[in-house]
Subunit: 363 residues, 2 copies
């Protein structure tokens, strides 16, 4: 540990050339050096374990080959899938990722962002829904470096990538309607979130299509946690004991919904059908297995980074939000006639997913 790094000057000295020449051989592109000297330099570098100092390089080249990723709670499965995929594609493009995670109700959105900017990242990916209303953050996002956001940025000017949540919710709700349900409740995330409102719209769209006027009191807000979702479910049950289906906004919340239904002695899907969002890896293994909207988090991460890198490269970003399609994965919890699989599934059967896909407007 604590070994000194070896610089190009030392290499040069040992190889008997100027350090600039050594630099060119080692890192630069088109050099004009004899094959022998080049080889000699390379040999010395190899022997000494030379590694270019990227911070010095960054200084002169005015680019760090680093992108900043500011996330909401990384503990959330959805966001972490996104982050992992983003990091991976960044790395594939020779970029490192500097991370800034916002704690619970961390007020430090600007602070974290400023820290990334101070470190001269080449671009920023914002994936912190709790910042979607923050204008100070929006200003920073616009001001210094290219950025791509997962959430709506007040004032615009920042390209957005996401999924078509409205269509997804419509799909999910339609599925429940098709199964004959008419009293469909929904356990949502916080109303102030754009995603949540999009999904509410989709849900209402579908109901209206079916000639049902969505009841105000059948949509209950929760805070993305199983606990709050369980509470919301109890409230829903109380408001309309005849309710036969629930559309819930995340798989994690679905766990709470199932828990509350079990506590209320309602069987799923017998008494109440459940459709969820996210399609986390565990969704298939809940009891009953969860019907869920598959949101392409990984793909979103990839797209976001690609967009950002293009933007950094000078290409101008799409003016319209890039919306990836969402897919309804039908399983046991909605009591669909569809799956028809026995309750005991073969070892790893990844559910032959009837892939009712969506695409178009609105994130």
């Amino acid at each position: 540990m604590a070994r000194r790094y070896v610089s190009v000057k030392e290499i040069a000295a040992k190889a008997g050339v100027s350090f600039q020449t050594a630099s060119k051989v080692l890192n630069g592109g088109n050099v004009r050096v004899s094959a022998e000297t080049a080889a000699r330099i390379m040999a010395v570098a190899e022997k000494l374990g030379y590694r270019p100092n990227t911070v010095a390089r960054s200084l002169v080249q005015q680019t760090t080959s680093t992108i900043g990723l500011i996330t909401g709670d990384l503990t959330d499965g959805a966001l972490s899938q996104f982050a992992v995929s983003a990091e991976q594609t960044a790395r594939r493009h020779e970029h490192a990722v500097l991370i800034g995670n916002l704690a619970e109700h961390d007020e430090g959105g600007t602070a974290v962002l400023q820290m990334l900017i101070d470190r001269r990242v080449d671009g920023i990916i914002a994936a912190a829904p709790q910042l979607e209303g923050d204008t100070a953050v929006a200003d920073l996002l616009r001001r210094y470096v290219p950025a791509v956001s997962l959430h709506h940025v007040p004032g615009g000017g920042v390209p957005v990538v996401g999924s078509n949540h409205r269509d997804g919710a419509r799909l999910a709700t339609r599925h429940l309607l098709a199964l004959g349900h008419t009293r469909i409740g929904t356990v949502t995330g916080p109303f102030r979130r754009h995603v949540v409102r999009s999904r509410l719209h989709g849900y209402e769209d579908a109901l209206r299509e079916a000639g049902i006027e969505p009841g105000e009191d059948l949509a209950v807000e929760a805070a993305w946690t199983p606990g709050t979702a369980a509470a919301a479910t109890r409230l829903l049950l109380q408001r309309d004991p005849e309710m036969t289906a629930i559309f819930v906004h995340s798989d994690t919340m679905a766990i709470g919904v199932l828990s509350a239904l079990a506590a209320a002695r309602r069987s799923v899907p017998g008494d109440v059908a459940v459709v969820s969002c996210d399609d986390m890896p565990f969704a298939e293994y809940l009891t009953p297995s969860l019907t869920s909207l598959r949101v392409p988090f990984a793909q979103t991460g990839e797209r976001a980074v690609e967009l950002l890198l293009n933007s950094i490269g000078g290409q101008d970003p799409p003016a319209e939000p890039v919306l990836l399609p969402v897919q309804l994965i039908v399983r046991g919890s909605c009591g669909s006639p569809a799956p028809g699989r026995p309750r005991t599934r073969p070892a790893h059967a990844p559910a032959p997913a009837p892939p009712v896909t969506s695409r178009t407007e609105d994130s």
Copy 2:
């Protein structure tokens, strides 16, 4: 966007002083300048929105105030809790976090590590269990900068922080024994992992204490996923249909275990009791609610970073692994007489957790 950064030279020019003086006023510590000039400089800096260029600073100070975090799958709830907490405490100490996440069976352990080192991070936290056997990685970890690891590092020389998994497993198994179970199976992570072996030891310790010789075939390996855990459970059921309890190594796998038990028409905890590990936020809301060993991931992240920063500061790190205690949170799935709570829990009741705590040897 793409606005030029303003340097200290520009500030100095506009304030009519040398840039070094401006630098001292803006960033340096003990300056000797008149109050007026200082104020003037500050004013100009403020107006122009000066932000020091940390990469230049890093170059001269030979420190980046950045730590590298190399993780296994961040998608895993446990690891992400750790990462979030690590990032947060790093930030609290004015350090940024450069992240390198290893994909599935990413062979690029050394590549990622090298990338962090090339970027001259001040220290590294290794939280990628899949690297625990990698000697090349171990060498890198020892060689350049201080490091702290979550997993065992071949050859030593790197301080380790973790939890006392052996004790934890002992605790869990004892609890099952105390409830009268004698045929206790276990669904584990991959045997090659150190954690897994520690837990197996704890499990066996407890059985032997009770005069039971642990049967080889009652320990089945899975791959941390619900699917593989479900398969493991089926195997267990087949090997010993009389088995009445299962100790499983993660909450995510527990979902698979519950699923397989339900498919086999065994009730939990009636026919089979289940105790798990991790105590993820959702554990409380599974049906039945999951008894689980609470592993202090967040605290581990905090300790790891503190250790690392101390190490960077020149303090020498503990020679022995730092092991944090683990706690058994008793809930419904083990059929303990303990909880005695009605199945319908009050809104947010965070389970009054009988806190059977552990501490001592072995990670």
